[in-house]
Symmetry: C3
Subunit: 160 residues, 3 copies
Amino acid sequence: MSEEEKGLNLLVFSSDLDKVLAAFILATGAASAGMRVSMFFTFWGLNVLRRERIAKVRKPFMDNLFGMMMPKGINDLKLSKMHMLGVGTALMKRTMKKKNISSLPELLRTAKELGVRLVACQLSMEVMGLTKEELIEGLEYANVQTYLEDASKAKINLFI
Amino acid sequence: MSEEEKGLNLLVFSSDLDKVLAAFILATGAASAGMRVSMFFTFWGLNVLRRERIAKVRKPFMDNLFGMMMPKGINDLKLSKMHMLGVGTALMKRTMKKKNISSLPELLRTAKELGVRLVACQLSMEVMGLTKEELIEGLEYANVQTYLEDASKAKINLFI
Amino acid sequence: MSEEEKGLNLLVFSSDLDKVLAAFILATGAASAGMRVSMFFTFWGLNVLRRERIAKVRKPFMDNLFGMMMPKGINDLKLSKMHMLGVGTALMKRTMKKKNISSLPELLRTAKELGVRLVACQLSMEVMGLTKEELIEGLEYANVQTYLEDASKAKINLFI
């Protein structure tokens, strides 16, 4: 198989903790095995890339409204099931720690170190009212055409 | 890359407004870039294809029951998150309009104009109790084997 | 197309009845058409593989907690939408039976007979606190690297 054909491309649509964990476990596993990996964050997935603390960004009221209601970064994600007002989510995190499984922030750091490309969807940023200053460093910004070109080169494509 | 290898095939399982929007943005983006695009609607995804107003179709009570509870066409879809009794969904639609992003009905029209194949899963129609008269015009009807043949030819496959 | 290129690989993350049904309909359809099929069960998807009745397995309290709250095997799955305290799920099952569509347990049996590979994700088993004795027979056990190798060979990859 040629290098060209060995890529993994993840379209991360969800901001559910469990799905995002699965995405990063796949991404870091693939990158450490030498595969080219791109993660394209769109819609709710953008919340994974939000900074936790930022200087207040001036923006229209409606944009603020979305921002206030969505998870604020990687430590604020919730399970898609059994969140149970936070008990299930906390339990999952504690279990993973106890069993020495990397946490999501650790996986994000590893992904960056292994050269995983983290791409933010600009159209979604506009819909969600999110600006570049509100997102973490080290991102690329792209549109649907860029995604399609990348995904056409990858061997494995998943919508998460 | 040969023509054969440049397709996008979307298996649209969901009827959530956000996921269906993502599907149509991908589909129209790919088609406008010259890719062959098929969208195969199955399970809840079939609701995207329902006509809003139809002459009453006579059918068994249980089939009617499903039909009554599911979204009635493309204008009746809800966000998977933050629907909030309609407030979140309306906010998303208004935000998109204000920012000049095509609405879902516009994207559907564009998809048809660009030659995107819209395929309804016949097995799901049977399970959901939906008849051809209840679905919009311009569809193809197919089963899982047709999907698998199509998907085997596409370069990008996603389950949405 | 070579044999190598005709595979279907499903990453089954969900334990929702509707999504798992879709996965097994795809898997059995593909296998009966001569495609190589692998289903890799991860996170909530592992619940599909749980035995219904097992001798009590001794394990830490927190592992038991997850186990108690998650669906206990293939007959205990719920619809992702319209579950309605069980009414919607029961209605779906009854409708399928009435229309002579295979139930999920029947589809699982067919999948095994057709040689579909059923693989349990070991990392997820650890997170969920599930042991081999709690899962059905005839499974393979693997990690993310195995998944990536398999998926790289498949023509169609889906995350369900």
